[in-house]
C-alpha cells in the first residue's frame, strides 16, 4: 500500500457527495414546489379538457334520452286516455240511465200529490170567497147607514160652529181695531212724554251744569277763604312764598336791572 492507498476511495466518496450536493442544490424545496405547481397545472388542464368532452357527450346523451322519453310517454298516454275514455263513457251512460229512470218516477209521484193538493185548495178558497162576499155585503150595508147618520150630525155641527166662528171673528175684529187704536194713542202719548221729558231733562241738566261751572270757581274760592282764611297766616305761607319767589327770581332780577 502506498501513500495514496485511500485516494480513489476518497475521490469516489467525493463524487457521490458532489452528486448529492448537486442534487441537494437543484432539488431544493423551491424546485420541488415549482415541480408540484407545474404538475398541478398540467393535471388541471387535462381534467378541464376531459370535463369539456364529458359535458358534450353528456349533453348529447341527455338530448337523445329526452326525445325518446317524450315519444314513449306520448304513446303511452294516448293509449291510456283512449282506454279511459271508453270505460268512462260506458259507466256514465249506465249511471245516467239509472238516474233518469228514478227521476221520472219521482216527478210523476210529486205531480200527482201537487195536483191533489191544488184541487183541495181551490175548493177551500171557493168556500172562503163565498163566505167573505156575504160578510162584506152585510158590512157595507151597515157602514153606509152609519156614514149617512154621521154625515147628518157633522153637517149640523159644522153649521153651528161656522155661525159661532163668524160671530167670534166679528167680535175679534172689533176688539183688535179698538186695541190698535189704543196702542197707537198710547204710543203717541209715550213718544210725546218721552220727548218732553228728554227736552226738560237736557235743559235742566245744561242749566245746572252751566250754573255750577260758572259759580264753581267762586264757590271753591269762598270755601277756601272760609276754610283757610283765618288759619293760613303769613308765617305759615312764608316758606311757600319764598320758594315761589326763588323759582321766579330771574324774572324779577331781569326786570329790576332794566
Amino acid at each position: 500500500m502506498g501513500l495514496f492507498q485511500n485516494k480513489p476511495q476518497a475521490k469516489q466518496q467525493s463524487t457521490q457527495d458532489q452528486a448529492a450536493a448537486i442534487e441537494q442544490r437543484f432539488m431544493d424545496e423551491n424546485f420541488r414546489e415549482e415541480l408540484r405547481n407545474h404538475g398541478r397545472l398540467y393535471f388541471e388542464k387535462i381534467i378541464e379538457e376531459n370535463g369539456v368532452l364529458f359535458r358534450k357527450d353528456l349533453d348529447a346523451t341527455v338530448a337523445k334520452v329526452d326525445t325518446e322519453l317524450k315519444e314513449h310517454i306520448t304513446t303511452q298516454l294516448d293509449y291510456a286516455i283512449a282506454n279511459m275514455n271508453a270505460e268512462l263513457k260506458e259507466h256514465v251512460t249506465k249511471q245516467l240511465d239509472v238516474q233518469l229512470t228514478e227521476y221520472t218516477r219521482s216527478i210523476k209521484e210529486a205531480q200527482d200529490i201537487a195536483i191533489e193538493s191544488l184541487n183541495h185548495s181551490v175548493k177551500t178558497v171557493q168556500e172562503q170567497h163565498q163566505q167573505l162576499g156575504e160578510s162584506l155585503e152585510r158590512d157595507v150595508t151597515m157602514l153606509s147607514r152609519k156614514v149617512a147618520d154621521q154625515e147628518a150630525i157633522l153637517t149640523n155641527a159644522f153649521k153651528e160652529n161656522a155661525d159661532r166662528v163668524l160671530a167670534m171673528k166679528d167680535a175679534q175684529a172689533q176688539t183688535l181695531a179698538w186695541l190698535n187704536k189704543s196702542v197707537q194713542a198710547l204710543q203717541e202719548q209715550h213718544e210725546q212724554l218721552a220727548a218732553l221729558l228728554q227736552t226738560n231733562l237736557a235743559t235742566q241738566e245744561a242749566m245746572l251744569v252751566n250754573t255750577f261751572q260758572e259759580n264753581m270757581a267762586q264757590v271753591i274760592e269762598h270755601y277756601l277763604l272760609g276754610a283757610l282764611g283765618e288759619q293760613y297766616d303769613m308765617k305759615a305761607q312764608l316758606p311757600a312764598i319764598l320758594q315761589q319767589l326763588e323759582a321766579n327770581k330771574q324774572e324779577i332780577v331781569d326786570d329790576i336791572k332794566l
Binding site: 261751572q213 274760592e221 303769613m234 332780577v253
Partner: protein, 170 residues
Amino acid sequence: MNETTELNYAEFVLPPSVISKVDVSRLVTEVERVDNEFTTIAARDKAGASQQATPVLSAMMEDFLTQNNLVLNDDKIRPALIKQMRLMKDRVPIIHMTFAGPTDSESLQQLSRWLRTSVHQQAVISVGLQPALVGGVYLRTSNKVLDLSLRAKLEGQHGLLVKELEALRG
C-alpha cells in the same frame, strides 16, 4: 382823597329792619334831623350856651350806620350822606307785594332779606292787602306782574276741575 366823594348811595346796604320806602324816607328825615341838631349844638357851642346832649338815634338808624360803617358826628360827612341818602330814597327799587292777609314785621324782614340777597341789595317792599288772593303773593315790579297767589292757581286749575267734575258726572 376827600371823604365826601367816597360816599355813593349805590353801595349803601339796607338793614332788614328797613322794609319799605317809607322806612328809607324816615332814615333820610332822621339824618336831616340829626344834622340840624348837630348844627344847633355847634352854634350853641360858639355862643357859649349850655352843653346839649348828642342826638338820640332810632334802632333802624343805628342798624343802618353799623352796617355801612358810618358815623353822624362828622360835620364833613353828613351833607354828603344826606345827599346820597336822598338819591337812594328816590332810586331804590320798589317791589309791590300784595298778600291775602295781614303781615307781620318778622315775615317782612325775612322777605326783604331774601330780596336783598337775591334781587337787589337796596330793594324795598310796598305791602298791599287783598283777601281775594286767598293765599300766596301778588308781586309787581316796575314792568312785570307775577301772580303767585292761590287764587291764580285755582283759576289755572279751573279747566281741570271742570273736566274732573264732568268725568264724575259721566
